[in-house]
């Protein structure tokens, strides 16, 4: 088992004809992900050429609207690479078309746009992951995002993270230790986004094949503290953690829009203390993330 994505995931890529969209749609297809449709307005009728895991040709039909793509191909999941000012609209379109999972890779989406998107998701059963995230991967089955597939290995450890490359670092360490992954989820670095730590942790908690979780946070907001509280009360599996930004100065935005210590809140120190109090073992350095989870087993 796994969470969020598996071999039954049928993907429509929004923005498939763009630079990032076309590159990553091909990478995902080559990993074995079922890329069944693409969507770019005014490009409907074209066929996007990709290759499957064995090098076989895959022709992906392109549609003008997501609704049409879903209707014609039974896509159930959307992967979004639409540029920032159009990305919120793209999420709403996927929602309207009935996609059950919407993964938005796009970064730099204005926060007021994301606030409207969150409002639109209220009362709907669809799940949004991101934006400004690397996506989600169930190793060996489905890669839905921009992470390098080859560093992953199928297994029983879940990874959830606010960062992209730091997740690769953690995954690389786990794989090197022989600890494969059930699913790796990047929730993204924006202050207002879709799934948060708790949403993902709940899924890992209920997933029979996940036996432990690596949780990677960073400065800013209080998502890690809330997750720690939830873990203390509910989590049945060991959780190891890491918080990036111990040495970050206050008031400065560290790359991610959400990574900022404001008004003395959201520091790494507070987060680490909350996590340790909840029984999470926090890696002292980013080089010891894998070992820290291993030490809890």
């Amino acid at each position: 088992m796994s969470i969020l994505v598996d071999s039954g995931t049928r993907v429509v890529v929004q923005g498939i004809t763009g630079g990032a969209g076309s590159f990553h749609a091909r990478q995902c297809a080559a990993y074995g992900t079922q890329i069944v449709a693409g969507c770019t307005p005014f490009r409907g009728g074209e066929v996007f050429e990709a290759k499957g895991p064995k090098g076989e040709a895959v022709g992906v039909p392109v549609f003008d609207t997501v609704a049409e793509a879903v209707k014609k191909t039974d896509a159930n999941t959307s992967l979004i690479f639409v540029p920032s000012l159009g990305a919120a609209d793209a999420v709403l379109e996927a929602l309207d078309a009935g996609c059950r999972l919407i993964v938005c890779i796009t970064e730099h989406i204005p926060v007021t746009d994301m606030i409207r998107v969150r409002r639109a998701l209220l009362g709907r059963s669809a799940t949004l992951l991101g934006p400004n995230c690397p996506g989600v991967i169930t190793p060996g089955k489905c890669k839905l995002g921009i992470m390098p597939g080859h560093i992953h290995k199928p297994g029983k450890y879940g990874v959830v993270s606010r960062s992209g490359t730091l997740t690769y670092e953690a995954v690389g360490q786990l794989t090197a230790l022989g600890m494969g992954q059930s699913t790796c989820v990047g929730i993204g670095g924006d202050p207002v986004a879709g799934m948060d730590f708790i949403d993902v942790l709940k899924l890992f908690n209920d997933d029979p094949e996940t036996e432990g979780v690596m949780m990677i946070g960073e400065i800013g907001g209080s998502g890690e503290e809330k997750a720690a509280e939830w873990i203390a009360k509910n989590m049945k599996k060991p959780v190891a953690g890491f918080i990036a930004g111990r040495t970050a100065p206050p008031g400065k935005r560290m790359g991610h829009a959400g990574a900022i210590i404001s008004g003395g809140k959201g520091t790494a120190k507070e987060k680490i203390a909350a996590m340790e109090a909840a029984g999470i073992r926090v890696a002292p350095t980013p080089a010891e993330m894998g070992k820290t989870l291993q030490s809890m087993l």
């Binding site: 007021t112 409002r119 992209g164 970050a248 100065p249 829009a257 790494a268």
Partner: protein
């Protein structure tokens, strides 16, 4: 992106929020004239000389002077600030040089309120915060007397409703002590509503009026204006270019921004070049863990081009405070060979005078290592990020 008080007030005025009359001044010689004009227009003999810098805490630091002695006194007050660094609790120890002043009419203040709109991450909404404790450091109020801050959340579908603004007004007893309590309350409601509209339309990430004053006649006036725009929305706000004050920004950070890089200057001496924000922060942390101190946060991004890497490395090489460099790359989308070529190109141009430690991992790693090896540069290769951090810290200690 931050803007100055006088620019924020101009924006307030456009949305119908009352502000004092004022004149921005960029030269010391214009101060007396501006003060004279204000006194003549308002028939109020009091003016306020306010330093315009992008940092709070100006009042306590001597950046705001109330002048009762006319234009000459205004100039004398301005001379104490203009061209000099102003150190507040938000500027850091070196302060920020005052290059612009705002000369404003003086007003009688009966009460000082606080009003702000911020992005609330927990509710995923815009939060409107109001308090009777205007003029104070709001973080202190939140810390010591949180019950004195009243909050309403804006539904993005409807915008802020009038009843929410009234809830705030009555909770603050805005009309109390006013000669016309109803009019004062209604003014408050219209200011809150206008600020919510402004926040949304102008793509802010924070708007603050501290203090929002009540005059003895019962009028509400925004005595200060703090606005931060959401950088992500810049592509749909061409007008922001005119509001940017280059002098308030770190020149290196501006240069990085123009090149599509994310850069923050820090106080240490180890230059860092990393891909990805999380990994970049973690790299700073591990340098700190081994006793070193990073000179910068630098994220070249997930899909860096060779030009971007070259530009990034150029910035690190040309910084006089950098005594050693740590390149830490876990390439997923970015490619190690592209990063390596960028490093070689920048060093070919500027030379390499400090120790350089490189850790490469991920996509095209062999190709990247080959490019670095063939360049003949004195590079210390690192096995992993811990090894790299230790090596760069040790190299500097020598």
């Amino acid at each position: 992106m931050k803007i100055h008080e006088y620019q924020g007030k101009a924006l307030f005025a456009r949305y119908g929020i009352a502000v004092p009359k004022g004149i921005p001044v960029f030269r010391l010689d214009d101060v007396a004239g501006a003060a004279e004009k204000l006194i003549e227009e308002t028939k109020i003999p009091v003016v306020v000389v306010k330093a315009q810098i992008h940092a709070g805490g100006r009042g306590k630091a001597g950046g705001v002077t109330v002048v009762k002695g006319g234009p000459a006194a205004a100039k004398a007050a301005a001379e104490k600030m203009f061209g000099k660094p102003l150190v507040t609790h938000q500027t850091g120890p070196t302060g920020q040089t005052v290059r612009r002043l705002y000369i404003e009419q003086g007003l009688d203040i009966k009460r000082e309120l606080y009003l702000a709109l911020v992005v609330d991450r927990d509710s995923r909404r815009i939060a409107v915060m109001a308090s009777t404790e205007g003029g104070m450091d709001i973080e202190e109020v939140a810390d010591k007397t949180p019950e004195k801050i009243i909050t309403e959340y804006v539904d993005p579908l409807h915008g802020l409703s009038a009843f929410q603004a009234r809830k705030l007004a009555f909770a603050l007893r805005v009309g109390e002590g006013s000669p016309d309590p109803k009019a004062t309350t209604n003014q408050f409601v219209s200011i809150v509503s206008a600020l919510a509209r402004l926040f949304d339309k102008e793509d802010c990430s924070m708007c603050e009026i501290n203090p929002l004053i009540v005059t003895s006649r019962g009028d509400l006036v925004a005595l200060d204006a703090k606005i931060i725009f959401d950088d992500n929305a810049a592509p749909r706000h061409r007008e922001w270019a005119e509001l940017l004050d280059q002098d308030e920004e770190d020149p290196v950070e501006l240069e990085a921004q123009a090149a599509g890089l994310s850069y923050v200057s820090l106080d240490g001496n180890i230059g860092c070049l990393v891909n990805g924000a999380g990994l970049a922060m973690a790299t700073m942390d591990i340098i700190g863990h081994y006793g070193g101190s990073p000179a910068n946060f630098l994220d070249v991004g997930g899909s860096a081009t060779q030009e971007q890497v070259t530009q990034a490395f150029r910035m690190i090489l040309s910084s006089p405070k950098v005594k050693g460099i740590f390149v830490n790359i876990f390439a997923g989308i970015a490619k190690c060979d592209v990063i390596a070529s960028g490093i070689v190109a920048a060093t070919a141009e500027l030379g390499l005078k400090v120790p350089l430690v490189v850790r490469l991992e991920g996509t095209n790693v062999e190709l990247g290592k080959k490019i670095l090896a063939e360049s003949g540069l004195a590079i210390q290769a690192a096995e992993n990020m811990a090894d790299g951090a230790q090596k760069v810290v040790a190299a500097i200690a020598k």
